[in-house]
């Protein structure tokens, strides 16, 4: 388990990879962001991006899932407090291969039990282009006395 003490400023955690299928783009957008550029192949072809692009919310969801699988799901997370900023830097098109990382940018111990941890979650695509950058605020529990750290 990763405790607040493990999220030292500058530490970077890599995540796994996800491939975005056209079916996944359509299914996500039909439920949460039903705009033609995300839900309608023909309309998207004629549109400004000359092809289907994923909802930004879908990209954010993929980044979150990758970070949960790699780090957050194995951490003493108390709660996510919010997101400071999200930049959608490049449209995500069908068959994009995305991989992420979490870079710790703030570690602030609040009391004996908890810390606020701020990290920058990035997604890079198959061309090594930055697709998404978001800065996330979490509250994470401190390591209980007597529990050894990962690096011990």
């Amino acid at each position: 388990v990763f405790y607040a003490e493990d999220f030292t400023v500058g530490r970077r955690f890599p995540t796994g990879e996800a491939t975005v299928t056209v079916e996944a783009i359509l299914a996500f957008a039909r439920q949460w962001d039903p705009l033609p550029m995300h839900t309608d192949l023909k309309a998207a072809e004629r549109g400004r991006f000359a092809g289907l692009i994923a909802s930004g919310l879908h990209t954010i969801s993929i980044a979150t899932r990758l970070s949960v699988d790699a780090v957050v799901g194995d951490s003493a997370i108390v709660v996510g407090r919010g997101i400071q900023t999200i930049q959608l830097r490049k449209p995500v098109r069908p068959e994009a291969r995305l991989r992420g990382s979490i870079l710790v940018i703030e570690q602030r111990f609040v009391d004996a039990e908890r810390a606020v941890i701020v990290w920058r979650n990035e997604l890079i695509d198959q061309d090594d282009d930055l697709v998404l950058a978001m800065v996330v605020d979490c509250v994470i529990g401190r390591r209980p006395v007597g529990v050894p750290s990962y690096s011990d």
Copy 2:
């Protein structure tokens, strides 16, 4: 269709309402944010919130869907550029009834065809408590010459 000219600073657009079921909380979180506080009723009961709470990403998705249905889907939207900030102010529990609004906070004409529009998207629950506030940046097309405005 709402064009950039219609998003005047201070204008507020109400959205419809959504009720969040326990099944929806579990289904969303299992796919995108699989932490026990969102996916496991028993673990959530024992946890810090003494009950299941929706993933923040689920709440953001509901806010987005309501705003698409009410306004964005009927606008000359070009693209969402990103989100400046997201505050998760109150946990969303099963059977929460959420309704939203979009308050325009910036309208910046970029060229003859487009404007950057910034709005604050809020969700309020059945107790009139603020659940979510997020500030969203979009590019929206200007009204073509000869097309009358909504208010004409």
